[in-house]
Symmetry: C2
Subunit: 260 residues, 2 copies
Amino acid sequence: MRNIKLVIEYDGTNFVGWQIQPNGRSVQGEIKKAIKEITGEDVNLIGASRTDAGVHARSQVANFKTNSKIPTENLKKALNSILPDDITIISAEDVPQSFHSRYSALEKTYKYFITTKKVAIGRNYIWFVKYKIDFEKLQECAKLIPGKHDFEVFAKKGSNVKNFVCDVKEARWEREDDKIIFKITADRFLYGMVRGLVGAMIDVARGRIEIETFKKMLFEKFNQIKIMHAPGCGLFLEEVKYATSTQKELSSTPQNVIDP
Amino acid sequence: MRNIKLVIEYDGTNFVGWQIQPNGRSVQGEIKKAIKEITGEDVNLIGASRTDAGVHARSQVANFKTNSKIPTENLKKALNSILPDDITIISAEDVPQSFHSRYSALEKTYKYFITTKKVAIGRNYIWFVKYKIDFEKLQECAKLIPGKHDFEVFAKKGSNVKNFVCDVKEARWEREDDKIIFKITADRFLYGMVRGLVGAMIDVARGRIEIETFKKMLFEKFNQIKIMHAPGCGLFLEEVKYATSTQKELSSTPQNVIDP
């Protein structure tokens, strides 16, 4: 039995998300179907992140076990030749049996793209915020985020996670012309968490809520204000990091995490 | 009677092109419809370039005459509020009666985007070329283009233009990671001309035709080889230049040109 790791780029616009669902196209579903067409096997395809409807990925990671003897380079080419245009396999490689795309992940990085000027070109990859934004306030908010916090307030309901503590390594805003970009790296993310954080910070930056309120959400789980969740189209899964082979054995402790 | 100039951004993916056609959504059709909804008038909306199906514009220019008294800033806002998401009005301004978005144009700039690595994100804005490309050859070709040439060989059939001579001010290729970008500025363009030039240059760069053949096409109208037209998705109308008000009176000589 081989264990194959895929790195995948996708445009989430026309998907219900990563995960197979009763109705609608899912990224997982399309790739599973393509693997079946090539290997004849109905594999268990595990994704590092269960990205939501409309959310994009520059490097989603997934793995599956197979008895197929097809070399990984040929497998990659075969998959790309039959997959729809909105999914591209960037790489395929044989990895140790212990590798699990979700449980072995050490950290993940997401970026959220905002434009303050309405755009037609690329509108499926960015959130148009029509409010006047105080960029300094965004930065003040972001500075509070790194560290271990309980992020339940920012998450969406509907996952069966019990532990809401995430360890955020980095959180910062950058500005490029009319674009504002939020970058966040953490060991794990809760369902809807990045979109909740972005929505709340925009609420602060447009003057709808006080930065003190945001602080209370973050440090005291204050939940008396309804959080705005930024739309999926602006969110990109940028990177999933694993221990390199020179590092100690890959972690294999299930973390039971659902992603943004 | 006022003369109003619009600068327009659009994503050409879901349009049959700029111009109104019997079947399918056109950019001109959508904007005319929106103007009618706001002013009640059935205006003659003239575009600087008749961009083709799938072709995008960062700054298309159009103008129309109206009796409406709506200030331009309000007109812009009203148009943006009812136009579909793939069209954005960047600006609206009152211009002299003599201004004609097509005839008054001094020069236009197009860019063509190519990727040598298949992409899912942004695939509607770039042409994926799977051949091995010799970038030096692309540059050698581009160096031959500036100046006055008869470009009929590179154009698509089907326009009623009689004069095929265009004066190219600039033509060059640039490279950014896996992206290759062609930039061309000329006083006028023929129907399908940029896509024909790009297709022919890619044919040279992948070794399908000799650079000598490309030269003969350009200087002697050699037409014994079928030209490949690069797809519309990679093409962007970047800029239309007009004489500034400090310059001499705007040209008003019709040039009878159909665009790429």
